[in-house]
């Protein structure tokens, strides 16, 4: 028996006895119709397994890894205002499944890539030396997600930061450890986090900026919880730039209709909804239309990595893509390497841009 109930008993009970109001906001359930993926059922499986009333099996473990942890469920959670969260018990149960050697193949493969290359994408990289910022400027931090999924956005970020003129530094890391943490590989996660923490500590003072909201969420929210406070500001690029709009270049008019997809880590995780829209408003001629769900209630675009069921992931991203194009927009803009990759994988014909990449293209 593990300590799941001992540590997370209240949260597990709250979910297991719940009336399931989060069901409409659970992407897997909407995509598959499968009641076993409703949070209450998953929580009950964990309780019963921890009590020895249910065997830990590969089937049980697989269900643990469906949950996207993207927070949409909380928009409908009956006890959200009491501080109820599902990620802690879900991550702990995943870690227990990993400990028991029951990780689904896709999860184990993702972990193996981290062990082999330092990142979940399996990118073999020689990371450049850190560049210290000058004049108290920001440090642009990026991990393999930005380099593998949105290299153009990363290049654009460098240029825009040069524009606003603060002499940015740069730190390339393999991984911030967030994906590994979500997948239950706590050792890999913490090794990555300690490495990043040490690397940042060696750099001069100044805010950290990143175009990857998962990375920003990890550094701003999770690192302090892991006992690794950074003692410096951590900002998503949109937050940083929106405070310096007078320094931004003039953008060319774009007479197009666009819609913005709020990444989960950005909107629900960090509470950043207005900044990307404010930046887009600086592009004259661009009409921004909102999808059915946006802001903190935005629909899910799909998982980050190590998802056990490609068909379900595909159904989720297609559902979101279709919702976005039903606005009539001719282009989709988002602000996360994972979100851009997921929406592009829907392959629906409508171009998908990262916010920074789009701004750069409008110079």
């Amino acid at each position: 028996m593990s300590d799941l109930i001992k540590t997370h008993g209240l949260e597990l009970d709250r979910c297991a006895f719940c009336h399931d109001q989060c069901m409409s906001a659970t992407p897997e359930v909407v995509a598959t119709g499968d009641q076993t993926l409703v949070v209450s059922r998953v929580a009950n499986f964990i309780r019963l397994a921890d009590q020895g009333r249910l065997d830990w099996t590969e089937g049980l473990a697989k269900r643990l890894f469906y949950g996207l942890n993207d927070g949409l469920q909380y928009e409908y959670c009956l006890v959200k205002k009491e501080g109820h969260r599902i990620e802690p018990f879900l991550r702990a149960a995943r870690a227990e499944a990993v400990r028991r050697g029951l990780a689904p193949a896709a999860v184990a493969a993702a972990a193996a890539r981290v062990r082999d290359t330092g990142n979940v994408f399996g990118c073999l990289e020689t990371l450049p030396e850190p560049v210290a910022p000058s004049r108290g400027g920001p440090i642009l931090v990026h991990d393999a997600a930005s380099r593998a999924l949105t290299p153009d956005a990363l290049a654009a970020a460098r240029l825009l930061l040069q524009d606003v003129g603060d002499g940015p530094g740069e730190l390339a890391i393999a991984s911030c450890g967030m994906v590994e943490f979500d997948l239950g590989y706590v050792d890999l996660s913490q090794a990555a986090a300690h490495h990043v923490h040490a690397a940042l500590a060696a750099l001069p003072e100044g805010p950290v900026v990143t175009g990857d909201p998962v990375l920003a969420y990890a550094l701003r929210v999770m690192y302090p919880q892991w006992g690794l406070p950074l003692n410096r500001q951590v900002l998503h690029l949109s937050e940083y730039l929106v405070d310096r709009t007078d320094l931004l270049p003039t953008f060319r008019p774009r007479n197009e209709v666009a819609t913005f997809h709020d990444p989960a880590a950005l909107s629900r995780g960090l509470g950043i909804v207005d900044a990307p829209r404010a930046l887009l408003a600086r592009v004259s001629g661009l009409t921004l239309v909102e999808p059915v769900s946006s802001g903190a209630a935005a629909g899910s675009d799909g998982p980050l990595a190590g998802y056990p069921d490609p068909a379900v992931a595909s159904a989720i991203r297609h559902a979101r893509f279709n919702e976005l194009v039903s606005t009539g927009a001719s282009l989709i803009i988002t602000s996360s390497p994972y979100s851009k990759a997921n929406l592009e994988a829907a392959d629906g014909g409508t171009p998908v841009f990262d916010l920074i990449e789009f701004l750069q293209s409008a110079r």
Partner: protein
């Protein structure tokens, strides 16, 4: 006892046939799946499954995507003589989706598409597995609403609303499912597919829609429905008052309704619930809060709001402004207090909804509260509100929380309170259920509700439509 992953008693021949008409990934007799589907929102089932109890687990779960697949599954079930239990979101609180005799559980949530929207006639045709919250979002994006907002909207489906004759919190303006349904597509127990006409009215004999509204899947499986639509309201306002007694509040609502005003939401809280929900208002004990939400076209909203306020003032209540409405609108889908009681090892809670005519409504409330409190014992709590009103009367929503002395006694105290509640309601001329339906939990009181002749007729209808009793057996007291 630990359970293994497979179900050794699953009938191999049946599984093969189901896989042949569906697909392997849409048929499961997996142990975890069966446990997950062994509950809906019936309080005793939630508590049971939390203990690993498998009393209500199905033998097989299937996920059809078309009405033809539903028909094929039902024909197979009939040929094997095994039960079929339709399942939507599992939000029903009376155990209507529990597999009391095992069999095939038909999860309809993959049938979730809008099939047609007639903007001129203001109707939408939708598959029955559509989740309410998702459907309303889709309709809202096009400028429409069904106006059906049950507390369970984010976990219930169109099929469930129809099966249990559900009613939403805005029902006084938008109506109940009986009013909202225009036509139905139903797979009958012999596999035939029946579709009623999508017309505003027909006098061609008895209304077949009504045969399936509230039938809880005992006479067939609703696979699609055409429902009434409304444009999204252009205006909304709300107001609340504190009355010196619950009876004064009932009288205020009666006067409003009998003047033919139809606020969308009308909620009258008894003094206990008033204190629990609105303690910050500093009301004196014994006072009852009455909330009106008015929405629709601006000119009608304005007229209704002014008139409701004028009628209310005739009974000299305290005007509470907008705080009550703001709070309710922000928390209206929460059933957290019920869930919290269920987490206690010996705790049980439920919301019982009955209805009666104006002339007996207040007395029924008083009598039910007294009898339920006696049954719940010293550790129990009973309170309630009225939240749906009609020309002839309204509903009573009686909520109880109780604690037994042991796990074994939870079911006893639960049914003891229900017995006290329903006998008192029916004894005062009221009904057994207003909008949750009967399911498993209330079946034993159906003979009293319908009378010998009425219940006998229902039994004969069931035998005629479903002679082998494969459709959701054990529900409606059948």
């Amino acid at each position: 006892m630990s359970q293994s992953e497979s179900h050794p008693s699953a009938d191999k021949a049946l599984l093969d046939e189901l896989i042949a008409v569906l697909a392997p990934e849409r048929v499961s007799c997996n142990d975890l799946d069966r446990l997950a589907y062994a509950r809906d929102t019936f309080p005793l089932a939630i508590k049971g499954v939390a203990q690993g109890d498998r009393t209500y687990q199905p033998d097989v779960i299937v996920w059809p995507e078309t009405r033809e697949e539903v028909a094929a599954v039902i024909r197979l079930a009939a040929s094997h003589g095994i039960p079929v239990v339709p399942y939507g979101g599992g939000s029903g609180i009376v155990g209507g989706a529990l597999s009391v005799q095992g069999g095939i559980l038909l999860d309809l949530k993959k049938m979730n598409r809008i099939l047609a929207l007639d903007s001129l006639s203001l109707t939408v045709t939708v598959q029955s597995g559509a989740l309410g919250g998702v459907l309303e979002d889709q309709l809202g994006a096009q400028g429409y609403t069904i106006g059906h907002y049950p507390q369970s909207i984010y976990s219930s489906t169109v099929g469930g609303w129809i099966a249990h004759r559900g009613i939403g919190t805005f029902s006084t303006r938008y109506g109940k499912m009986d009013d909202i349904v225009v036509s139905l597509e139903v797979v009958l127990p012999d596999g035939q597919i029946m579709t009623t006409r999508s017309v505003p009215q027909s006098a061609a004999g008895p209304d077949l829609n009504r045969l399936f509204l509230g039938a809880e899947g005992t006479l067939g499986v609703v696979t699609a429905a055409t429902l009434k639509l409304h444009p999204l309201p252009e205006a909304r306002t709300h107001m609340a008052f504190a009355f010196s007694s619950f009876a004064d509040g009932v009288e205020c609502v009666r006067r409003v309704i009998h003047r033919d005003y139809r606020p969308a939401v009308v909620r009258l809280y008894d003094p206990v619930e008033t204190q629990a929900q609105f303690s910050s208002l500093g009301l004196e004990p014994g006072q009852a809060v009455l909330l009106f939400v008015v929405e629709g076209y601006p000119e009608l909203v304005d007229l209704t709001a002014r008139s409701v306020r004028e009628i209310a003032r005739g009974l000299k209540p305290r005007d509470l402004g907008t705080a009550v409405g703001d709070y309710w609108l922000a928390n209206r889908f929460s059933t957290a207090s019920l869930c919290k009681t269920l987490t206690k090892p010996y705790g049980v809670a439920d919301a019982l909804e009955v209805a009666n005519v104006w002339s007996r409504l207040a007395q029924t409330y008083t009598a039910m509260k007294e009898q339920m409190e006696a049954a719940a014992g010293p550790n129990g709590q009973v309170y309630g509100h009225c939240s749906h009103f009609y020309h002839t009367g309204g509903n009573l929503y009686m909520i109880f929380h109780a604690e037994a002395d042991s796990v074994e006694e939870v079911s006893d105290i639960y049914y003891r309170i229900l017995d006290a509640a329903f006998k008192t309601s029916m004894g005062n001329g009221g009904t057994l259920t207003h909008h949750h339906g009967v399911g498993l939990g209330k079946g034993r009181w159906m003979p009293q509700e319908l009378g010998d002749a009425g219940f006998g007729l229902l039994q004969r209808v069931k035998r005629a439509v479903d002679p082998t009793n494969i459709m959701n057996p054990g529900k409606l007291g059948l």
